[in-house]
Symmetry: C2
Subunit: 169 residues, 2 copies
């Protein structure tokens, strides 16, 4: 039987990142069709001190990679987070999917009990076992940024629906 | 060992509904302090054809109850969804927490393999096992509405942060 932590993380990230890519593709097409400057969307925010769309996508990808890597006991890859355009954000999602696809179920063996420390050495340091790290920290963070990206585009009039957000399942 | 589906669902719903209750409390206090008509927030939307705040909270609670009940093999409780005020939404969250708290880990035994059918008898009918129902359907739907409620209040200037959304974990 495949490890439960593997099946509770990798397929979820893949499903939702696929949905996010589809949402961004619709936003890009909308901008082209309506002669909207694409940065009006990639830099859009729901409030001045919130992150813009491009950063929401970057952070969602960052959680997908970081949570997967930590659960797999693999090194967390460093990305530059310098994406600005829709094409670059699409490529970021593709590279993120490539990374998590490269992790094998075998790497997750015993990961439910693996100790994971977030922000080590800082006052915000927290220790989790793998299961609580995924469910009480990783997934809530990941879904937060995916949904905020969706909400931000929806607020800007992009014709997307919850079905797009949900991806293929 | 407690069933994995229990520990992957009930504590997550409790954590996030606790966060949602705290966010709504801050919004209510903000409205009182600034002399804002509370319905300006409870009826606020991010776009005209999106659901308002009150409905986002109702749907989040609905998924928390429905997903938990189906996984536990319990009857899905029927609620009226007639909440309008912050006090009524707060009470809804409390009743939802009460319902899911009443489900026992023993009811979740074998739930990873339990067949769950959504929208039975309709063209949208889908069959899941319990694990994929929770992870590829239930949690993405639940997080969608909790995060949208947050985004909506954030967009309206309520001083909340991701820490509030994350709840106690």
């Amino acid at each position: 039987m495949t490890d439960t932590i593997y099946t509770s993380s990798i397929p979820v990230f893949k499903q939702m990142l696929g949905g996010l890519a589809a949402i961004l593709a619709k936003a890009e097409a909308h901008a082209a069709e309506k002669n909207i400057e694409p940065t009006a969307l990639t830099q859009a925010r729901l409030f001045p001190d919130m992150f813009p769309l491009r950063r929401q996508v970057q952070i969602a990808c960052d959680f997908a990679r970081g949570v997967s890597a930590r659960l797999a006991g693999a090194e967390v890859p460093k990305y530059d987070d310098d994406e600005q355009t829709f094409a670059e954000l699409r490529d970021l999602i593709a590279r993120t999917l490539g990374f998590i696809d490269g992790l094998t179920p075998a790497q997750f063996a015993g990961s439910a009990q693996r100790e994971i420390v977030t922000r080590p050495g800082t006052p915000k340091e927290r220790r989790f076992d793998g299961q609580s790290y995924l469910l009480s920290y990783g997934l809530p963070q990941f879904f937060f940024h995916v949904t905020t990206a969706y909400a931000l585009l929806r607020h800007n009039g992009i014709e997307i629906g919850k079905r797009d957000y949900m991806g293929q399942y």
